[in-house]
Amino acid sequence: MDINSFSPMMPTSPLSMINQVKFEDEPDLKDLFITVDEPESHVTTIETFITYRIITKTTRGEFDSSEFEVRRRYQDFIWLKGKLEEAHPTLIIPPLPEKFIVKGMVERFNDDFIETRRKALHKFLNRIADHPTLTFNEDFKIFLTAQAWELSSHKKQGPGLLSRMGQTVRAVASSMRGVKSRPEEFMEMNSFIETFSQKINLIDKISQRIYKEERDYYDEMKEYGPVHILWSASEEDLVDTLKGVASCIDKCCKATEKQMAGLSETLLPVVHEYVLYSEILMGVMKRRDQIQAELDSKVEALSYKKADPDLLTEEIGKLEDKVECANNALKADWDRWKQNMQNDIKSAFTDMAEENIHYYEQCLATWESFLSSQTNLPLEETSEDKS
């Protein structure tokens, strides 16, 4: 096995995350700390893949130890997400980073891609850890603590592929029947989700576009400063001024670079995460609707007297409970999600504004310093006003 190491760019200790994590749930009650770092490339005869190191530190009793270190690959994350969705169909499970990025990088092992993915995976696990329900999920615990072989054998235990397929078919079938009467609050929720999805997608596109335009601007600016240096070679009396302008332009160029880095660290990942969230929300609505549709179809069947009424009534009772559970879970999680969303969006845009302010302040200082150096000249220069 060939192991290549990539250097981690984030603090390694989960405990150091206490001040960094901006989660709204009482942070002082946090008892599970997770980090995702050290991507490593593994080469086998069949394939090449990347694993990430996951360190968990906890004070919870149900964990056998207080510290765990495991390696997981992207596939394992997908498995975990699937299990969580299965167990909690109407909870809002956090998004995973995409499998590939359609345009731009296709290379799976590009450094930027890996780093972006690592950060997103880190966020994914932490969001689960902070979720009041999901944090106690058994599969989650196994994901964080099991050795590789233990996880493999546990994965095989789940409902078989065929039964999972069967569920999917039933789900699709029931969704085709449509929802007869979605409760008012879920109608509102759905309408919000639709508009939100539209807007967040636009914001994502706009933000990406801004980054691209800034990159193009940066590329042109890089040429701009040197032209002034070139000019200063043929102008004896303007050397200082020209070199000064060149230096200012170069400094502003660097400031642009810094601002772009800030943008790609704060705003872009957050907006993108919420683009993925909007898809998840639509999935959650569908699943809630499916559960209700199951109930509705049984109720319909009862009214048409198609099968044994006692059996049906019993089934309907169970389904009514199921629907009520699902609805309540979603309602609670929805409020929680909205609160998080507001905080995250507010934070991301405030950071972006801060980056831009800082950028302009840097440039301002540069040019003001140049200006004062040019205008505080000895008297014989300023009395040359003859034209």
């Binding site: 309408s191 919000f192 508009t195 939100f196 807007k199 636009l202 914001i203 706009i206 576009r209 801004i210 335009e213 800034e214 193009d216 601007y217 590329d219 042109e220 600016m221 040429e223 701009y224 032209v227 002034h228 070139l230 000019w231 043929s234 102008e235 009396d237 303007l238 001024t241 020209l242 302008v245 200012c248 502003c252 507001q342 969006i345 507010k346 845009f349 405030t350 504004a353 801060e354 831009n356 302010i357 950028y359 302009y360 302040e361 440039c363 301002l364 040019w367 003001e368 140049f370 200006l371 040019q374 205008t375 040359e384 006003d385 003859k386 034209s387």
Partner: protein, 403 residues
């Protein structure tokens, strides 16, 4: 052509308006052109009160005529350039259309600048044709053409020939020619890069305007975040539209650089005149030397140089002493004329060098001062842009933090 009461008074010249006109051209076809109003005020009283003395309308082609006249009559002067005929170094937003109001406005300023340059030049300001340009609306074109200046102009071909063949041009002028080539090249390059940078910057600002629209739409579904989003969106719109003024200002900076770009052509014109005069001088000297040689050979009877006479003599027999005597006489006359001619050419050349170099020194000082000022004004523009940016983003940040 001089008019001395003109330079003694303090005058203010302005090109105050531009107007679209239609008329018929020389071929009796309808055409649209822009006319510019030139107003001249003389500062009569001690307290600086100015009185409008003249006002007339001129079009760009008349400015060109004036400048061509000045080029012919003052070849030792670095004649100020006119603003560009067509918009060059444009970035995408600016149209290259001569009728575009922004272009017309910038041209108006450029023409005013041209007149100010001429009127503040110690020699050019005294020219009568220039005075009439400012004061005599009708018939001015005829008056200029009557000077016959077009005929006095050196032919391009002659000048080109001289440039290639001159043997000993003054080193200062050779250096000046190189300098003006370099300056032209570097300013062109700078203007091109600047245009591209402007284009990109425009893109960055304008895309932010899209945030405004989407925030506004999003705010409709948000209860707590709504107000913050809405007002932040407004600031995004302000940010996006601020680039228009910023780049308009920068265009004036570009025009200042362009003036010196065009000045390089005027510098080269002076160099060319020197080369032409030097070449004529060298040719005259060469001609004189050859005649002297011929004379000497005839007198002493030795034939070292090839001459047609010598050839025919060989073929058709020797010439008589009388014939030879006659020829020597002619040559001696020619030599005497030639020596006079050479003397006056030498004098002319030295005068030209002296006057031209004086104007070039004046020009250099002006250039250093103006370019420095332009670069400083560029810094001022950048500072203003940064301050605006800080303002907008601070406002936006406040809105975001209230969400």
């Amino acid at each position: 052509m001089t008019e001395n009461n003109f330079s003694l008074k303090k005058i203010e010249i302005s090109v105050s308006e531009a107007e679209k006109r239609t008329g018929r051209n020389a071929m009796n076809m309808q055409e649209t052109y822009t006319a510019y109003l030139i107003e001249t005020r003389s500062v009569e009283n001690i307290d600086g009160q100015s009185v409008l003395t003249d006002s007339l309308w001129r079009r760009y082609s008349e400015f060109e005529l004036l400048r061509n006249y000045l080029l012919v009559y003052y070849p030792h002067i670095v004649v100020p350039p006119l603003p560009e005929k067509r918009a060059e170094f444009v970035w995408h937003k600016l149209s290259a259309d001569n009728m575009d109001p922004d272009f017309v406005e910038r041209r108006r300023i450029g023409l005013e600048n041209f007149l100010l340059r001429v009127s503040s030049h110690p020699i050019l300001c005294r020219d009568k044709i220039f005075y009439l340009f400012l004061t005599q609306e009708g018939n001015w074109k005829e008056t200029v053409n009557e000077t016959g200046f077009q005929l006095k102009a050196d032919s391009r071909l002659k000048a080109l020939n001289a440039t290639f063949r001159v043997k000993n041009p003054d080193k200062r002028f050779t250096d000046l020619k190189h300098y003006s080539d370099e300056l032209q090249s570097i300013i062109s390059h700078l203007l091109r890069v600047r245009a591209r940078v402007a284009d990109r910057l425009y893109g960055v600002y304008k895309v932010h305007g899209n945030y405004g629209r989407v925030f506004s739409e999003w705010s409709a579904i948000e209860k707590e975040m709504g107000d913050g989003l809405q007002s932040a969106g407004h600031h995004m719109d302000v940010y996006a539209s601020s680039i228009d003024d910023i780049l308009e200002d920068e265009e004036h900076y570009a025009d200042q650089l362009k003036e010196y770009l065009f000045y390089t052509e005027a510098l080269r014109a002076v160099c060319r005149k020197h080369e032409l005069m030097q070449y004529d001088l060298e040719m005259a000297a060469q001609d004189l030397a050859s005649k002297k040689q011929q004379c000497e050979e005839l007198a002493t009877g030795t034939v070292r140089t090839f001459s047609l006479k010598g050839m025919t003599t060989k073929l058709f027999g020797q010439e008589t002493p009388e014939q030879r005597e006659a020829r020597i006489k002619v040559l001696e006359e020619q030599i005497s004329e030639g020596e006079q001619y050479l003397k006056s050419k030498n004098l002319e050349g030295r005068e030209f060098l002296k006057n031209a170099w004086a104007d070039i020194e004046r020009f250099k000082e002006q250039k250093n001062h103006d370019l420095k000022e332009a670069l400083i004004s560029y810094a001022v523009m950048q500072i203003s842009m940064c301050k605006k940016g800080i303002q907008v983003w601070t406002n936006a940040k406040e809105c975001f933090s209230k969400m």
